[in-house]
């Protein structure tokens, strides 16, 4: 198993008091497996991804990524995990505004210490970003930014890709092309993919589909 989620609970305290978002969640993902995570807005999908990436800690439960318990690691070990094992595609893109597209695409691979130029060029080309290398994020459309965010993760060849609605800003054709690429990568390198999506059509193309409801897998 590349990912094991075991009895995870998570609450947030807002102005209305404490709200339980995840309530004893269990989920497994095998290496190379692809999984679609669906659920209505506010059901906790993004929250789950941040817990897996070690950006936040669960209140209870265990999260294992490639044999390491994420919520027991210290900051630098969690950072190392994100750098080398887990690739994140954020819902809000989170590109680095001061780097141009080419540098943004190469950034995570350089951090991980495995920049592979031919592979980077292939990813760039297949995402249709070849002509945009010198632009800065603020000069891109929403869809273009999203493709850069995906390319950045794919270029680093992580073992586990966590993607939060990676096709939310793309038209159907582009969404299909992006998903093709992600599936191809996971097949080629044995990477597992955990993808949040609202699209039933796209969800259907993945190995497995899980629906979140009331903080549990329905």
């Amino acid at each position: 198993m590349i990912l094991t989620i075991d009895g995870v609970r998570k609450s947030f305290t807002g102005p209305e008091g404490s709200v339980r978002v995840l309530d004893g969640l269990h989920l497994d993902l095998a290496a190379g497996e692809t999984l679609a995570l669906t659920g209505e807005s506010g059901s906790g999908k993004s929250t789950l991804l941040t817990l897996v990436a070690g950006l936040d800690a669960p209140d209870e439960g265990r999260i294992m990524v490639s044999g390491q318990q994420v919520n027991a690691l210290d900051d630098s070990a969690r950072a190392a995990l994100r750098r080398t094992t887990v690739g994140l595609v954020f819902q809000q893109f989170n590109l680095i505004p001061s780097l141009n597209v080419a540098a943004n695409l190469a950034f995570q691979a350089r951090l991980a210490g495995r920049l592979d130029m031919p592979w980077l060029e292939e990813v760039t080309g297949r995402l249709g970003l070849s002509d945009l290398g010198n632009r800065y994020p603020e000069q891109l459309s929403g869809g273009q930014q999203q493709r850069v965010a995906i390319g950045r993760t794919l270029a680093a060849r992580p073992a586990l890709i966590l993607a939060d609605e990676p096709t939310g800003n793309l038209d159907e054709a582009a969404a299909d092309r992006v998903l093709d690429l992600m599936l191809e990568l996971s097949r080629d390198s044995g990477a597992a993919l955990l993808m949040v999506t609202h699209s039933k059509r796209l969800a259907g193309r993945l190995d497995r589909r899980v629906h979140l409801s009331r903080g549990r897998v329905a």
Binding site: A79, A80, R82, I96
Partner: protein, 808 residues
């Protein structure tokens, strides 16, 4: 990983050259301010010392012949051989180019005070110390004189004549050999200055030179105390500018973090550990601080040199002047400048790094939430400020001593600065509640939300303003005191010293029909309340009734004094012993009632005064050989000349007080002008800090402004509101700064000064200055807001639309 991360950090500065420039500028200016203040402080001290020296002739005793006769050179040699540290002086009058000039010859190697000349005009290469010394000794030698006198002498003599503003008009100073030649003197000198106390084993003067007498410097005229007080206050100003600088550096660095918050979050989410990021940011900031510090030190030097066109002149004296002929860039200033840049950066960075380490990795901080969160921290900060203020006030009130004074000073500054955002926020909240129209309501609410981002800049502005008010109050009070001191001590037009009683009688008889009054000046040592003190005898004359600075003026004091019914005591003694008017105090064998207390600025010792008649009875042996002469001011110069011609009185025996006063005040004024310029500079630096903050906020503010724009408010209108906002915040800050500045001045004058010297400078306030300063602050704020507002006014709608397109 390290290289990739370092590259990202650098990319931000490359991508935003404007932010880079403002950060460096803010840091550099703060450093420059501090370096400049130090340079100017040193210069102000030097010029103040010179003013004091001119009046008191450095307070050294003099050896001379009581009859005014020349002293054979052998006696000087004998004294030197016996170990007496004396410096020879020749003095005489000569007719040069049809005008009488007093020539004073000194030995440059042993004289205690040397005048500082301005650099010779048009000289291609500045000369070294040695070259200067050689040129001074000659042949042909060079003379130094006040500019007007120098202009007259030039050409009439074969010697170079240098402009030297500190020398009294009508006088020229040169090497003893040259002057002896000009005066036609051979192997004689006029007097000797006792440069230091003679060693214990040295034979007494009476044995070595029986005919000569040693004269102590005039009692009470020692300005060391006054000078010391001014130095202390300048040091305090240095501290103030350091604090202002620290706040500015802190603000600039804080913004550098704020601007990159999102980026830090992203790269950490992508797998850069907090520690790696922290180390890299620390290195980055150290580089920035060093770069900006270097620029700042250079800039401070340039500023100081520009503010003091005569700094180069005054420091480049004949000796001990830097070879470059310009203001010396002293290692201590350089070190202090860098210390400032590093310390400010270090404090700010430590705080920011700590916050960064705890930064939630998830995007949750909405601007509104952030403002709300910081409203709580604002209150906490204000409470902390209040606590610090209380500690400061407590120290100022209850404790004594310099440490307490400086604690009070620090507590006041820090406490007031910390409390400022809270006070402003309360004011804005009040305005928001009173607002009727939705636009005004939005305006106030939006201003309040901007406050956290601006608060450091506003704190710096407030400190700058408070320092301004504090220092101008302090300096103004000081000037008033100094003038008052001159008027009190040097009320008469001419002071002369006849040397012997016979000559005194001669001069008196000659003078009597020509002047309004001749007032004997007598004093002696006495024991006052068990401690050694000076006792003066005051003649019964309007000069004293009108000018003597009684702290508690009461009717009948002078008549009672004249009748010998009591004594006056000085403030130092009164404060130290808790004596006040109506008490009795032992004066030698007499239990004397205290009639009044008088202020006696700058005198470290105890002093008492009695009527002249009583003084003569108590001390019949004290000869009356010194006089203050009253006559119409306009007649004084002529009378001085007549006295010199009639009785051959030397420059050390007679003073035309009007000329001396004018000279001292002029030197003093120069210092004030510099302080004024410095104040403007401080404000300018604070304005830059505000500009930096506003520019940064402008980019972060789009999401707040865009909806208002979408709802139908024009971009120019929004821009105008931005200007108004800055002006209002500056106004509020200025209003808060006034009481802080006054409190500051009060602490300086009434706590620090009393703690250091035992006497209190009376505080004088100058409300018109406050109005001017407030206007200046408004101007600075408007200037700082102009650029961001203009940019906002011209922002393409596409930028504003983007806010909606991807909701950030």
């Amino acid at each position: 990983m390290w290289r990739a991360t370092a590259g990202v950090l650098a990319s931000h500065w490359r991508r935003h050259p404007g932010q880079t420039a403002t950060l460096l500028l803010g840091l550099a200016l703060a450093t420059a301010l501090w370096t400049g203040v130090q340079a100017i402080n040193a210069e102000a001290r030097a010029s103040y010392d010179r003013a004091a020296d001119v009046v008191t002739q450095n307070g050294r005793p003099v050896i001379r012949d009581p009859s005014g006769a020349d002293i054979p050179l052998e006696i000087y040699v004998a004294l030197r051989r016996a170990g007496w540290p004396v410096a020879p002086v020749v003095e005489g009058r000569a007719d040069i180019a049809g005008r009488d000039v007093t020539l004073i010859g000194i030995d440059p190697l042993s004289a205690p005070v040397l005048p500082a000349a301005e650099p010779t005009e048009g000289s291609a290469t500045p000369e070294t110390d040695t070259e200067g010394l050689i040129a001074f000794i000659g042949p042909p030698g060079r003379l130094m004189a006040a500019p007007e006198t120098a202009a007259r002498l030039r050409g009439a003599l074969s010697q170079d004549v240098l402009n030297t503003p500190d020398i009294a008009p009508g006088t020229a100073i040169g090497d003893i050999g040259i002057v002896s030649q000009l005066l036609g003197l051979q192997n004689v000198i006029t007097r000797m200055i006792v440069v230091a106390d003679p060693p214990a084993h040295a034979p007494p003067l009476a044995q070595l030179a029986p005919g000569l007498e040693q004269l102590a410097p005039e009692a009470g005229a020692d300005m060391a105390g006054l000078t010391g007080s001014f130095h202390l206050n300048l040091t305090a100003f240095g501290l103030l500018s350091f604090t202002v600088g620290l706040f500015i550096v802190h603000g600039a660095i804080g913004l550098a973090f704020e601007q990159r918050r999102g980026m830090f979050r992203t790269i950490r989410a992508l797998g850069v550990p907090a520690r790696t990021l922290g180390v890299l940011v620390a290195i980055e900031l150290a580089i920035i601080a060093t770069l900006a510090g270097a620029v700042g030190v250079g800039l401070g030097y340039v500023i100081a040199a520009a503010l003091l066109p005569d700094v180069a002149a005054t420091l480049r004296g004949l000796y001990g002047a830097p070879a470059s002929g310009a203001l010396a860039l002293r290692p201590s200033w350089v070190a202090a400048g860098f210390a400032m840049a590093w310390l400010g950066t270090g404090i700010a960075a430590a705080q920011a790094l700590w916050r960064m380490a705890r930064l939630p990795l998830l995007e949750s901080a909405q601007p509104r939430a952030w403002a709300l969160a910081s409203s709580a921290s604002q209150t906490r900060q204000a409470l902390a400020g209040l606590g610090i203020l209380c500690v400061g006030a407590f120290a100022g009130w209850l404790a004594d001593g310099l440490v307490a004074g400086f604690t009070a000073l620090g507590g006041l500054l820090l406490g007031a600065a910390l409390g400022l955002p809270w006070v402003l926020a309360r004011g804005l909240a009040f305005a928001e509640r009173r607002a009727r129209a939705p636009l005004t309501e939005w305006f106030w609410a939006d201003t309040r939300q901007q406050l956290p981002g601006l608060s450091l800049a506003l704190m710096a502005l407030m400190l700058a303003l408070a320092a301004n008010i504090g220092v101008s109050t302090m300096v103004g009070s000081f000037r008033g005191t100094f003038t008052g001191w001159l008027d009190q001590r040097l009320a008469a037009e001419i002071y002369l010293d006849a040397g012997t009683e016979d000559r005194a009688d001669e001069i008196r008889t000659w003078l009597d029909p020509q002047v309004d009054a001749i007032l004997p000046q007598v004093w002696t040592e006495a024991e006052l309340g068990g401690e050694p003190a000076t006792l003066r005898g005051l003649p019964n004359h309007a000069t004293y009734r009108d000018n003597w600075p009684l702290l508690t003026p009461a009717s009948g004091v002078w008549n009672a004094l004249e009748r010998g019914e009591g004594i006056l005591i000085n403030e130092q003694f009164a404060r130290r012993t808790g004596t006040s008017t109506g008490d009795v105090v032992r004066l030698d064998d007499w239990t004397a009632p205290v009639l009044a207390v008088y202020s006696d600025y700058g005198n470290p010792g105890a002093e008492a005064a009695v009527g002249l008649r009583l003084f003569s009875q108590l001390h019949p042996n004290v000869p009356q050989v010194r006089f203050a002469v009253r006559l119409p001011v306009a007649d004084a110069p002529k009378m001085v000349e007549a006295l010199q011609n009639e009785f051959a009185l030397g420059a050390d025996q007679m003073r035309d007080q009007a000329a001396l006063k004018a000279l001292s005040l002029e030197i003093f004024e120069r210092t004030f002008a510099v302080t004024g310029a410095l104040n403007v500079l401080t404000l300018g630096v604070a304005a830059v800090a505000m500009l930096t903050s506003l520019l940064t906020l402008a980019t972060q503010r789009l999401p707040q402004v865009a909806p208002i724009w979408a709802m139908g408010l024009g971009r120019t209108q929004i821009a105008r509101l931005e200007l108004l906002r800055s002006a209002l915040l500056a106004l509020g800050t200025a209003v808060c700064a006034i009481p802080v500045g006054l409190a500051l001045a009060w602490v300086l004058l009434a706590v620090v000064n009393v703690a250091a010297f035992g006497w209190r400078l009376p505080m004088q306030v100058f409300p018109s200055d406050w109005v001017g300063l407030t206007a200046l602050a408004l101007l600075a704020a408007l200037a700082a807001a102009a650029l961001p507002a203009r940019r906002l006014g011209r922002r393409p709608p596409a930028d504003l639309l983007k806010v909606f397109a991807n909701d950030r």
